[in-house]
């Protein structure tokens, strides 16, 4: 058969058809088998990873993550868990499941409280993670006994202990206070003393001799005694015997140089002169000035004992203050730290910190230097290592069914 010119075309022979069918079959097969998998490998895991990172970033930007961390700091785990779950439920799609963890088992949140989530998490085919860092207080209980006899003291203590996780026992009852100072913790064996620090910002009263003796024993053998200037001023004349150390001694002060200057209405400041101690270390530095002001503020001219000078350190001193009428010449000491100088009880360590001022006053009554005073006091109270530690916040996400 012959074709005319206008009837010419392509003849699709049988072998060509067979070849085409084979090629098409192979291509479609590869497309169906490899395509979905390849597409998922390229985009699915990336999407999952971005779900995790975007969710944490969203929580960071909206402040929700900070709120959750603050709940954890306050040991309010239920609120932290509810907030984290509510936020992640809103942010992540329904088919994405999550496990949200803060620190070393401080908080673990799944999409619901149903059991079985841990198994789902461990058997998930693929997990994507996102991590941020949080700064949290140490996990162990740190117990503080605080003498707080007015609203300024109480407000100051609230600020100091905020988000620290400390257990603070507050009192203005001297009998209770006296009995608590040397209390034993019978929940541990061998028994340890219950409190690690005693804090008396401004006690405007003369404690009886037993209370003072207990304070002295505590500061010598058991833990950290932190007091403000008023406390020592009202207890400067001890009822103790000569064989018993006195309060000023365990605070590193020479009794001969105790004095109180006249009121001064000028604003003044405290200069850091030692930035190697944990109380005045970074971000403070030598010559850093912490403002101190109030309507009726007092400073004191306590100074270290020469006999224990090797363990007593002046961390900060006052600047621009009036001469104290023959008591001592400026610069007056601002913060005195007395390190351990006799053996502690049961491996404990006795130390003292004296703030030569009405401690609560400037932090609460004035806006000047507030954060500095809170920071100094917080660091002085917490002596058992770092006040904080880095702990990761991790969000795991995976695709899967919910646990009913």
């Amino acid at each position: 058969m012959s074709f005319r010119r206008d009837q010419r075309g392509f003849i699709f022979s049988l072998d060509a058809s067979l070849a085409l069918i084979i090629v098409l079959t192979i291509m479609i097969g590869i497309g169906r088998v490899g395509g979905n998998e390849a597409t998922y490998e390229q985009q699915g895991y990336l999407r999952l990873e971005r779900y995790a990172n975007d969710a944490l970033e969203t929580m960071q930007l909206t402040g929700a993550l900070d709120n959750i961390i603050n709940f954890v700091k306050q040991d309010n785990i239920d609120s932290a868990e509810n907030l984290a779950r509510a936020q992640l439920d809103k942010i992540l799609p329904p088919n994405i499941q999550f496990k949200f963890i803060i620190g070393d088992n401080r908080l673990t949140v799944y999409p619901s409280t149903a059991t079985g989530w841990n198994s789902k998490f461990e058997n998930a085919n693929e997990l994507a993670t996102a991590t941020r860092m949080s700064i949290l207080p140490p996990k162990e209980n740190f117990r503080v006994l605080a003498w707080l006899d007015d609203n300024t003291d109480r407000a100051f203590m609230d600020e100091i202990a905020r988000d620290t996780g400390w257990q603070v026992t507050r009192t203005s009852d001297e009998t209770f206070f006296r009995n608590e100072i040397l209390r034993w913790d019978t929940a541990v064996w061998p028994n340890q003393r219950y409190y690690k620090t005693i804090f008396i910002p401004d006690a405007q009263r003369n404690f009886d001799s037993t209370t003072e003796s207990n304070l002295v024993n505590f500061a010598r053998h058991i833990g950290r005694l932190v007091v403000g200037g008023d406390t020592l001023w009202y207890n400067r004349q001890s009822n103790g015997t000569l064989s018993t150390p006195l309060l000023y001694e365990v605070l590193g002060v020479d009794y001969r140089y105790i004095g109180r200057p006249p009121l001064d209405s000028r604003n003044t400041g405290l200069h850091v002169i030692n930035d190697n101690n944990s109380i005045t270390t970074s971000p403070y530095y030598i010559c850093y000035r912490a403002d101190y002001a109030g309507e009726n503020y007092y400073m004191y001219v306590y100074r270290p004992q020469l006999s224990v000078g090797s363990v007593t350190t002046v961390l900060a001193q006052w600047d621009n203050v009036p001469t104290a009428r023959g008591v001592d010449t400026p610069p007056w000491r601002g913060i005195i730290f007395r390190d351990q100088y006799v053996a502690g009880e049961l491996g404990r360590k006795g130390t003292g910190v004296l703030f030569n001022m009405r401690l609560a006053q400037s932090a609460i009554s004035s806006e000047e230097g507030t954060e500095d005073w809170i920071t100094f006091a917080r660091r002085a109270i917490y002596w058992d290592g770092n006040l904080w530690k880095f702990e990761p916040v991790t969000l795991y996400v995976w695709r899967g069914e919910s646990v009913s």
Binding site: A16, A19, Q43, T131, M133, S282
Partner: protein, 231 residues
Amino acid sequence: MRLLRDKRGFVLSGLALLLVLPAMLLVASYFKVVETGGEATAFQIIADKVTYVGKDIERVIRYMSNNYLPINNTTLRELAENYRVATGLLVDVGPVIIYPFWIHVINTGVNHYAGTQYCKITEAGTGKWRYNFEDLDVGIGENPDYDYNEPRLLVEKLGGVLRITIEEYDGGYHSDIYYSSQLIKGFVGGSERNHVGDIILVNENLTSGIPIYVRDPNGTTQYFSTVELIA
């Protein structure tokens, strides 16, 4: 030639071959696309991770500064170690103090600053550091060898003065060395090792920038920045 029955088979004609060849090419291309796409995805995932960690370190350092937490080399090392453990990335944070040294590479016109990947700072004793610069720049198509000796400066703190010794310049380029805005030595290096061994004194001008360097173990993606805390 006549084939016997048991020798019969499919004869691949020229037309069939022409159809099969482009199909094979398409399939090969498809696999290449898949491979490239996979690499790009992996790269994006690593880049995301490195970027988020870098940004988060900046946030944590600012938080520490705002909340009066101690920022020193010990705490920064601890911070970096926590990120390393939590993410598997290589993380360096600090040191706290960086003197504002930089070089202007005369041959290429680029500037390389302390606190970036082109300058490695190492402690050489109390009050002594080495500022080790790399003069090649990946941004203009060069392949830096990161041997960090073009130039290598020994910086010694003597009271309020810094004594700078140009210890080495092992490269063909010439560079000007600056301390902040001050040119402290010009046309250093080259094959003649111009000014190597020279000593310069400058007044100390401290900054409190904290360098952050995050990268994945293979070096595929890197993140650099410097957090300035005190103006």
